[in-house]
């Protein structure tokens, strides 16, 4: 039977390897893939370790008062990040206060109000907002918005509300409110574009079915579209929050870096990322470590918020790096 062709041999094994083709000869392919991916994984691990380890002297020096301490004074080697954490949360809250209604509203307008031809144009314009580098937002906020806030917006707000909390301190331009507004502009494209994606996948039939029952457009949007897109919108807001918490350069330029508890919306403040960016120069080793500790707090905060948002958003634009 030596001449029987292999194919006709009923006893031959179907393949050498039950999984498919000769995997062995493909090993170079997988070796490269695993090698390079492993390299990236290694970099990430070293990254994590180096940030955490660089902050160890600070934890040793200040202990947990790094988190709940109320005074951040590098001259006295007192490092308590509570005012800075409060500043971070406050700027993010201001940004979300504006970005959620305007972002979701624009998303609804893009999908259900605009004629079909304009839809792509306006979507691209919104995404263009995300392409502008953050330092340019900072520049614009500092040189254009800040004088306007100082001369018009803040005195106006103060006089309308009778100089009561949170509008009581003298207008300075560079302030918590300005940082929040710059952040609002920066996270708007994320919230708008991701909400748009979530709204666009609500089935057209549901929309039309509700319309045919006599509901008006707004009733359909409120009772059918928004509930259907709820998870995606919450995810969009979560990812916007993560971006606002971590934004560095633009905030550093317009917040006035003042690590005290903000007394009003017009007072200067500090955020985690902007403090890291601005106090680094001329810092003592202990201060560098304390800034590293701020980085650890910031990393934990943004990673958790981000992870949570990712679970809710199945958006292509975000994963493709557009936003």
């Amino acid at each position: 039977m030596a001449t029987t062709p292999l194919l006709d041999n009923p006893n031959r094994p179907l393949t050498e390897n039950p999984k498919g083709f000769s995997v062995k000869s493909d090993s170079a392919h997988w070796a490269v893939l695993y090698g390079v991916s492993g390299l990236f994984a290694l970099i990430c691990v070293v990254f994590l370790i180096s940030i955490v380890v660089s902050s160890i002297p600070a934890w040793r020096h200040s202990g947990l008062s790094l988190i709940y301490g109320r005074v951040w004074n590098q001259g006295a080697n007192t490092f308590g990040a509570l005012p800075i954490i409060v500043g971070t949360l406050a700027t993010t809250a201001i940004a979300l206060f504006f970005a959620i209604p305007i972002g979701v509203g624009s998303a609804l307008a893009i999908v259900h109000v605009l004629p079909h031809r304009l839809r792509i144009l306006f979507s691209s314009l919104v995404e263009l907002l995300a392409a502008v580098p953050s330092v340019v937002y900072g520049l614009w906020g500092l040189l254009v918005l800040a004088p306007w806030f100082e001369s018009t917006v803040e005195p106006g707000l103060a006089s309308i509300t009778g100089h009561k909390f949170p509008f009581q301190s003298p207008p300075e331009g560079v302030s918590l409110l300005l940082a929040g507004c710059v952040l609002f502009i920066m996270i708007l494209p994320i919230i708008a574009a991701l909400s748009r994606d979530a709204i666009a996948v609500v089935p057209r039939e549901q929309f039309e079915g509700a319309l045919s029952l006599g509901a008006t457009k707004w009733q359909v949007l409120r009772k059918v579209v928004l509930p259907g897109a709820r998870i995606g919108i919450v995810g969009a807001v979560t990812l916007g929050t993560a971006r606002a918490l971590g934004e560095t350069v633009a905030v550093a330029m317009v917040i006035g870096l003042n690590p005290l508890f903000p007394r009003s919306l017009f007072s200067t403040a500090a955020t985690l990322a902007s403090t890291i960016a601005l106090q680094f120069q001329d810092a003592s080793p202990l201060q560098v470590a304390s800034l590293g500790a701020l980085a650890v707090i910031l990393m934990a905060l943004t990673a958790i918020v981000n992870w949570f948002g990712r679970r809710l958003v199945a958006a292509s634009a975000y994963s493709a790096g557009v936003l």
Binding site: V104, P133, S134, V135, V144, T216, W218, A320
Partner: protein, 318 residues
Amino acid sequence: MKAGVIEGAPPDPMIERRELVQRVARQTLARRVRISRGIVALCGLALVLGLIPLFAILYSLISKGFRWLSVDFFTQTPQFPSLVDPNAIGGISNAIIGSLVIDGIAALFAIPIGLVAGLFLAESNSRFAGLLRKTAEIMTGLPSILLGIFAYQILVIGFNEWGIKLPGIGFSAVAGSFAIGILMIPIIMKAAESALRRVPAPVREAGLALGARRGVIARKVVIPTALPGLITAVLLALSRAVGETAPILWVIGASTVVNWNPKKQMASMPLQIFQSATSPYVSLRDETWGIALFLVFVVLVLNLGSRLFAGWLQRERR
């Protein structure tokens, strides 16, 4: 006299009732439509409000930055204005060269790593791939200043906790490239993965049916098919990298001389904007608009170019 009402007969309660219902329905419909129109208009207003900053920024950039764009601006080195001559500011050639070198070196190592790792994510269904995908997602979401700290610890001062001592190379362009490159890798990875996964399964399977190995299919079939998406991925990552300030803030130093040596300190356009914007000299602050206009121009060319190019390539192939 209404239709359906018989002369002299008592009023029909059914008809009265129907009229009442119709009247109320007309009123509520009018009210509902009014509310609906109002809120739909508000949505449109939100869109307009959201886009005002975009146009305001572009207007500021062009109206204040355009007059700076001259040959000297791109070819001269900066001069520091003094009280005697507050308008002598020179050009930004050092920052342009710095950006080129820093982002170039970053691209040199980030693009291959990002693309291959993206191919791995698309090809493999192992648990490691899943973990890596999560890691990349988290990494793209982290504030970029953290990468600056990382590069500072590893490259600038050398790591000296726990007795580990790496040779620190000081403030240098390489350290900036390292930070920017690590910023780019996960962006390229995720975008490349989604581009590669869009290659239809039958294309892959046809290759497998011909007996090709997976590596061969990846190189000869999948990658060429996904090429427009891969190019978009790389250009988008580059457009992010060019504008990033935070990762290089800690690490590249800031040099005012033209310098091509990546082991020395360098300037960079975003960093230059960051520093000049807070300068006490009015002329330096004004000049910032010129740099910003040029930077935004570069970023938008990369960003829009990537999409247009991908669309063009896609059409060419059909």
